[in-house]
């Protein structure tokens, strides 16, 4: 079962929770399912490892990507392309907005409030309990409240993105999922999907999850490691 999302989806969450890797993989996954997918890189706080690094991948897949103008791509400046509000007004079948981390990263969403008027927006909180900033339910609730206050948008879904990168085991994934399930129970928010590294999938008992699973093929890799190849289904 794969995540079935459409409309405008904002990927938010704590700094370093894995939003961008989730956004990239979700975009390609839905594109492969036949959706018209558009992505905007709204990360104004992170200097490295941003959605813009997947530009070539998106280009190959025919996914529209909105980023700052080429000459400012590596600038240390909070540049918000005017094309983003146009993208929201004329959203694709699935439009993914990859926000920056924490409340600081979500602040940009408030600047787009006018564009969101009359639109149905889903804002998902990506949670990785192996990050020290979100290793307790209380910390996750606090970040949720801060993101909502900064963006003026309510979070209405969760993503279980429990991982220790290459060192993730099946057990790490299960206990991370249990943690996010508890957060789901307390907040009454659904877990939209759980992520799992593609190479871990054969080891997993997928019946352990009551939610769809998004396979992750790591794209944001350091220079000594190649990005995973996302193959066409057909």
């Amino acid at each position: 079962m794969e995540p079935d999302l459409d409309g405008i989806v904002i990927i938010a969450g704590a700094y370093g929770s894995g939003k961008t890797e989730v956004a990239i993989n979700l975009a390609v996954n839905r594109k492969r399912a036949g959706y018209d997918v558009k992505v905007a890189d709204l990360d104004l706080v992170n200097p490295y490892f941003r959605t813009r690094e997947a530009a070539a991948l998106f280009n190959r897949w025919g996914i529209e990507l909105i980023v700052p103008a080429q000459e400012w791509l590596q600038a240390d400046l909070p540049i918000l392309s005017p094309a983003v509000s146009g993208l929201i007004r004329q959203a694709g079948q699935l439009t993914i907005l990859d926000a920056g981390g924490d409340d600081a990263g979500a602040t940009v969403l408030a600047a787009l409030a006018d564009a969101f008027v009359g639109k149905t927006v889903r804002m998902l909180q990506v949670v990785n309990p192996y990050r020290p900033t979100t290793d307790t339910i209380d910390k996750c609730l606090q970040i949720k409240a801060e993101i909502e206050a900064a963006s003026g948008i309510a979070i209405n879904g969760l993503v279980s993105n429990a991982n220790l990168m290459d060192e993730t085991t099946a057990d790490d994934l299960y206990s991370g999922y249990d943690f996010v399930s508890e957060l789901s129970r307390l907040t009454n928010l659904p877990i939209e999907f759980v992520t799992a590294a593609q190479e871990l999938l054969p080891e997993l008992n997928l019946n352990r999850f009551l939610t769809p699973v998004l396979p992750i093929v790591r794209q944001l890799t350091p220079p000594w490691r190649k990005a995973g190849v996302i193959k066409c289904k057909n």
Binding site: G16, Y48, Q74, N128, Y130, P223, W224
Partner: protein, 358 residues
């Protein structure tokens, strides 16, 4: 605490606290700012102090002041910020006060760019500030190693009464890796009485401690510099660290590379091995003291025809590699210094060109 997933900058910050550093003064700059963000939240939880200076010049002297009082203290910055601290670093070494400086390097010169670089090699190992002085310079290649080096940095700074600098290219600060923290290691300095101007508080002797860097008498200044020189010689004997890689093979090329660049080289060496080409590497973990003997000996390997310094700078470390090899082998350079990290394929191409040539 089991393994957690952390950015290098966050891990460096947490490691400092676990090493007993409760005084942190800094000024934000990309790609290092997460250290300040992390410690702004974390220091109050451990009754520590984070104070943002009005500039890196001020921060340098805040470090000097705290260290002179016997506090365990550090700052973090990135290239242009470290330049501004140069004067204070020279004063701190002259006064023989311990402190830890972290430089998460970005592209230069000038404002340069915000992407990874190793272009502050000269600044870290040969000066940056004025006068005859050296820093003990450590260069981690992973987030885990950054943690371990931070834990060692404070006791080393106190042992030698000299600043220790940890240098990482921007990737070391920005990348996330699983990391495990050792238990707290806040061993108090045993030689505090020798320098700390902390009143008679913890003082066992009634000797007056004076922190000063002015020596108007030429004989006195020369004697002071000889004392410092002896200390740097002691570091060379005691503190050098390096990692050998594939040196037990009949390697044709010897690579010297450090930090994240060395991880690209490892990938390249593994890929070349699959093709039947052997390449060895010495990875300096300390840039000063430099692994002189290890490189000299590695260059003596009979099968080795040429050495290659792979660095994200325009040929800075190569001068030290040449110095160590003492003309035994030709020494070549490969690198990039704009923010893009050379890929394993580029390193492989450079190695193959050298094999064809020598």
């Amino acid at each position: 605490m089991g393994k957690v997933l952390m950015k290098g900058n966050e891990a460096i910050a947490e490691a400092a606290i676990r090493a007993g550093c409760l005084n942190y003064f800094a000024y934000p700059i990309t790609p290092q700012s997460e250290v300040a963000e992390y410690l702004a939240k974390r220091m109050p939880e451990v009754d520590g102090v984070f104070l943002q200076g009005e500039s890196e010049v001020a921060v340098g002297y805040m470090i000097f002041g705290a260290s002179a009082c016997g506090a365990r203290v550090m700052t973090t910055s990135s290239s242009p910020g470290v330049s501004l601290m140069g004067e204070a670093i020279s004063y701190i070494t002259a006064a023989q006060c311990p402190a830890v400086f972290v430089n998460i390097m970005r592209g230069g010169p000038g404002l340069g760019g915000i992407l990874p670089s190793q272009a502050d090699y000269f600044q870290a190992t040969k000066g940056g500030g004025h006068g005859d002085y050296r820093l003990l310079v450590m260069a981690p290649a992973s987030v885990q190693e950054a943690v371990e080096m931070m834990m060692e940095a404070f006791p080393l700074a106190e042992k030698y009464r000299n600043p220790v600098m940890l240098v990482g290219d921007g990737l070391i600060g920005q990348m996330m890796e699983p990391v495990e923290f050792p238990d707290n290691l806040s061993i108090p300095a045993t030689n505090k009485d020798a320098w700390a101007t902390n009143g008679m508080d913890t003082r066992k002797s009634d000797k007056r401690n004076l922190v000063k860097t002015l020596y108007l008498n030429p004989e006195e200044l020369n004697a002071h510099n000889l004392l410092l020189k002896a200390k740097y010689e002691r570091m060379k004997q005691e503190a050098v660290k390096y990692e050998p890689y594939n040196l037990d093979s009949a390697y044709q090329v010897l690579i010297v590379s450090y930090g994240t660049m060395s991880r690209v080289c490892k990938t390249a060496i593994d890929m070349l091995k699959d093709e039947g080409i052997e390449v060895g590497m010495v990875r300096p973990q300390t840039l000063f003291p430099f692994p002189e003997q290890a490189i000299f000996e590695a260059a003596a390997c009979e099968s080795c025809k040429v050495a290659l310094s792979v660095e994200m700078s325009m040929g800075q470390m190569i001068e030290d590699v040449e110095r160590c090899i003492k003309g035994r082998l030709p020494v070549k350079w490969h690198g990039k210094c704009g923010g893009d990290v050379p890929t394993p394929e580029e390193v492989i191409d450079a190695v193959k060109r050298l094999i064809a040539e020598y």
